[in-house]
Chain length 341, copies 2
């Protein structure tokens, strides 16, 4: 049963998300033009998206945006894929911590690492995003970038989500895949701007979202260039360089993209500054906010201070009248896999 | 006379470098296909470039490189435009220092700033790239990113190069513009990877090179996000975040692009690590090295420790047999302007 699920999920993923980003920006096929956003129910969000894209991409429209300025940024965790019961990168860090602890007694004495490796629920509940980036930095320093990314790729192959029993990357949102493709078909350039690790996300972003590495912005550690035995390599360091969350998101956008987005999507306090920055520009702007209100098919949560906080983002999204998407009402399908919700 | 020069330079620039980067990646016109690289004389460099591009972009070729992996990186100073008698960004920093010193007595007491403002040749000769980035950081903190870039744009409008009497951005290399366009016509994505300031270069890179902001990598200061009087802004800070020079170049490539380039171009020790990193990958790789050997039309310099150093880069380029371009012998034209060499 589980095998079938996986197989179906894998097949569907392959069909939905082109691995070749070079073609992702080409013209869409006629089918997509005829019925964009098939997993979005008729409703205010779908209408707002299509209206905005048509206004900003139709020649002669007063809201026309030139192609080079068509920048759309997306948070990843909770916006492009699920983030429950814990951030998927945290699940990776825990698995990694367990293995490291088993082989390195002195590392096992690090309290955070020991707590994570123990799997204790209270310990897990108290882990913040800052802890996570520190943990990843600490458990992944001293190796080359290629070695690190091979470890992530291997984990993505073998790890299974505890609730759905599928690879984590099967839990990307089908409606958001369609939105990414719809935007690219209208010459929008799509970027991830996430608190997650940049080197972590780049392992799968191109395959699953059609977003190439150079369009992924995230948190990052320092890196050092070395010639080791005549071979030039980049070594991941323990020190953090940049945390791409909250006020860091507009900073990351200015640094990596150099242009204010026309459209941005998020789902938490961590995305609020990015949404404010996007809406603070002149001309047409779009802020989208994914509302997790579907406990049956995904999860329901929109308040509280867990995982970096939700209250501020949610309150401002409602107050400012941003495009809040009810997953329950507006998404006919959550995940691409046929046997998934 | 000078007016005519400027006008011609301006007109020619407009014709050579498309301002709309959205079209820069589109198919080239038939003329470019028929005679790529018209300002490159027949010779080893032109032959090596065309051979490499054809090998890596022809379907079925054993050296074929898939489109998403076609990454080409270019140093800016001395590789895409001139860097004599001083880095153009240093000329900007000096002009800026003079104005700041005139209005801010306490800033005028900074020894480096005072020396630069004085225009003293000995003081200028001892300024390093590190001094420059520090100077820019110090004289440009506390303002928004938009304010800073407006100052740069204004300077580019009014400043004139001391030798040629034209705007600095007229001193871009015509053969390199053709190379950038030729690569893009073959679905290479072209990036600047420069020790220069990222926010400085992004002001003109799209207009003069057809390289959009998100494909410009450079040195950068810290930036802070703030809401000022209800308006979200990014404030440039005094502290440096990253110096994109020497070993910093491969780090910047890994951070911003996330893929090892297939082709890289430089002209100094500052570019050596980028060239080593590029050549260290599997499959076909190309390292290009611009040799400044034309004192009549540009400048002649390839040794010594000035401006960050040249000896190590030059020696390794020759020893490894990288594609060294003689500006004197292989470029029929240096600058785009009709009355320029």
């Amino acid at each position: 049963m589980k095998r079938t699920l996986l197989l179906l999920a894998g097949l569907t993923l392959g069909a939905c998300a082109p691995a070749d980003s070079g073609t992702a920006n080409d013209s869409p096929d006629a089918g997509t033009r005829a019925n964009p956003l098939p997993s979005w129910n008729e409703g205010p969000a779908r209408t707002a998206i299509i209206d905005f894209v048509e206004r900003t991409t139709t020649a002669g429209s007063p809201d026309f945006v030139p192609v080079p300025e068509r920048i759309a940024t997306f948070d990843n965790d909770g916006t492009l894929w699920s983030e429950q019961p814990i951030y998927f990168q945290l699940a990776f860090a825990i698995d990694r911590s367990k293995m490291i602890a088993a082989h390195n007694p002195e590392l096992a004495e690090n309290p955070l690492l020991a707590a994570l490796a123990s799997g204790d629920e209270n310990a897990l509940a108290s882990v913040t995003e800052h802890d996570l980036v520190q943990l990843v930095a600490e458990t992944h320093s001293g190796m080359t970038l290629e070695q690190y990314q091979a470890i992530v790729a291997n984990w993505l192959d073998v790890a299974r989500h505890p609730r759905f029993g599928v690879p984590y990357q099967a839990l990307i949102y089908q409606p958001m895949l369609e939105l990414l493709e719809y935007l690219r078909a209208h010459d929008y350039k799509t970027f991830i701007v996430s608190g997650g690790g940049i080197d972590f996300m780049r392992v799968f972003a191109e395959d699953v979202y059609g977003i190439p590495p150079e369009q992924v912005v995230g948190s990052m550690g320092e890196t050092e260039f070395e010639i080791r035995d005549g071979v030039p390599v980049l070594i991941k360091q323990r020190a953090m360089n940049f945390v791409d969350d909250k006020g860091g998101k507009p900073v990351g956008i200015a640094r990596f993209i150099g242009r204010r987005p026309v459209m941005a999507w998020g789902n938490s306090d961590g995305d609020l500054a990015m949404l404010q920055y996007t809406m603070g520009g002149d001309g047409p702007r779009f802020a989208g906010y994914v509302h997790h209100d579907d406990a049956d098919r995904e999860w329901a949560y929109d308040r509280g201070s867990h995982i970096g906080g939700f209250d501020k983002g949610w309150d401002e999204a409602v107050e400012k009248g941003w495009t809040v998407v009810s997953m329950k009402d507006e998404w006919s399908k959550i995940y691409p896999g046929e046997n998934l919700p």
